[in-house]
């Protein structure tokens, strides 16, 4: 190889290296610009949620004849209190020794719930309980939006600071899932603000329809906080319908209600049926109903654990009726497809009760989910 050939080879290799570098820089530039665009959208969504929450609180403020200065101070104070509630952090209990952790989680959740409700009561002393529940939901949704934005922004800044392609790639890969969640929460803000039922409310809606059909809203008891129990008769079977107490936005204390039934009605239940919303796969149609075995309850898993404990202790079959929907639909105002699915679910429940039990059996039916905008 002569001198010119060597120079040519080196030049070719050099050009290849430059192209490889440029291609990577272009890739980073594309990712950075997309992540920045999404981050700005998430910030807008967070700010919008904060604005909606703050406005809702201000609208519910009792009218007073105090001076403008005092009114301004009040409003400023409300904004600060809302920001405090949004920035709240829930610390999970230590899991080095997991024995008894469920009780600890439940305790922390209940304390958080009570404290937030009390805070709202202090800010707005004259509002109804259902409104307190809706405001709690609104603050929860805003808190999650705030966390998502802050977490993503933190990771993005770290990635930029250390020029880490791999960190950027991870954020970029997660963007579709995070966007789905933000979309869902943004829609939830609208629903919680207006107090309208969401996709997750299908469980309580089915329970409510059953109560209406078989008892006409008579004999409704509230032995456990935020939870109602009604006894109805379907084909000579005693059905105890358990659901969160509406129309305020709450998921109730379903495990405590079931425990109350076992302590006060008796231990001989022939089955426990749970009706809940379930996440669908992308190819599945919304409103599809599937049956399953076990307890259909999402969330932290505390209620699921407690119901499973009771059922396995007394050897009671656990049946589940699942109404499929996307994550966005679960937190958005109920769609017509999902509403129509509740009618089908009702028929399936009646069939399950008829086919899997005999006359005079006692059955527990639980409508799982947020009962916002649904009575009783």
């Amino acid at each position: 190889m002569d001198g010119q050939g060597i120079v040519n080879t080196i030049m070719t290799l050099f050009l290849l290296l430059i192209f490889a570098y440029i291609s990577q820089e272009l890739q980073i530039w594309k990712m950075v610009s997309e992540i920045e665009a999404y981050l700005s959208i998430f910030r807008i969504a967070r700010d919008h949620a904060l604005g909606v929450t703050s406005n809702t609180f201000k609208k519910l403020l009792p009218k007073s004849n105090s001076s403008k200065k005092i009114e301004y101070e009040k409003i400023k104070n409300i904004d600060e209190r809302i920001q405090e509630l949004v920035d709240l952090t829930i610390i999970e209990p230590v899991n080095l020794d997991p024995y008894g952790i469920v009780k600890k989680i439940k305790h922390i959740i209940l304390v958080t719930e009570k404290t937030v409700e009390n805070e709202i009561k202090i800010i707005l002393p004259n509002i109804k309980r259902s409104e307190i529940k809706n405001l709690t939901n609104l603050i929860d949704a805003t808190r999650i939006l705030n966390f998502i934005y802050k977490f993503l922004d933190h990771n993005y800044r770290i990635a930029r600071k250390f020029k880490s392609l791999w960190l950027l790639m991870q954020i970029y890969a997660l963007l579709p899932f995070i966007t789905q969640e933000v979309k869902a929460l943004e829609n939830a803000i609208e629903a919680f603000n207006k107090g309208l039922p969401v996709g997750d409310s299908v469980g309580p809606l089915v329970a409510s329809k059953l109560i209406k059909k078989y008892s006409g809203f008579e004999n409704i008891d509230t032995p456990v906080e935020d939870t109602v129990i009604t006894r109805v008769n379907i084909d000579n079977r005693e059905i105890y319908i358990v659901k969160a107490q509406g129309p305020g936005g709450t998921t109730g204390r379903l495990d405590d209600a079931i425990e109350w039934l076992f302590n006060n009605i008796g231990k001989k239940f022939s089955m426990i049926i749970t009706v809940d919303a379930a996440l669908k796969f992308e190819g599945e149609k919304s409103g599809t109903i599937t049956q399953g075995f076990g307890v259909a309850i999402g969330g932290t898993g505390v209620e699921k654990f407690n119901i499973e404990e009771i059922a396995s202790k007394h050897n009671i079959p656990l049946y589940a009726i699942l109404i499929k929907m996307s994550e966005i639909e679960a937190l958005s105002i109920l769609t017509k497809d999902l509403y129509e699915a509740t009618e089908k679910a009702l028929n399936i429940i009646e069939r399950v009760i008829r086919e899997r039990s005999i006359e005079h059996d006692k059955i527990i039916l639980v409508g799982v989910g947020n009962t916002i905008g649904i009575y009783p």
Binding site: F217, I333, L334
Partner: protein, 141 residues
Amino acid sequence: MSLDEKLFEIKRKRIPIYFILLIGLIILAIHFILMAYFTNNQDYASFSLLTLVAAGYIGYNLSKFLNTTISKYTTVKLLTCKKCGYSNEDKNVDKEDYIMKENGICPKCGGKMIIEGIYRIEEKTKPSLLELFGLKKKNKK
């Protein structure tokens, strides 16, 4: 404005750039084809091919974007008469409304109406070309 609409707004700003790029690339491709034809130079043919590929890529993205649909939702309440079963959808959903609440009187039999359901109905709209190029503002309901 929903998140979909915000994303659409961000992407919409890129349309004129895509459009100008597409026209520029098409003109360039025609130029290279003519040069290749009149000079018989192979390089021009290669360049024209490259520009055509780039124009095709931008054109495909632009056509995908022009076919974007945006979902609009209307929330309705389904009112049913307790007595005669007559039902109708009402678009006036108040903040105080909830499912199983008594709401008004039946226009047919005078019985009590109950809110049997509250749900939203999806309506897909395709923005016009003028809206896409920012020459016409969207109709706000």
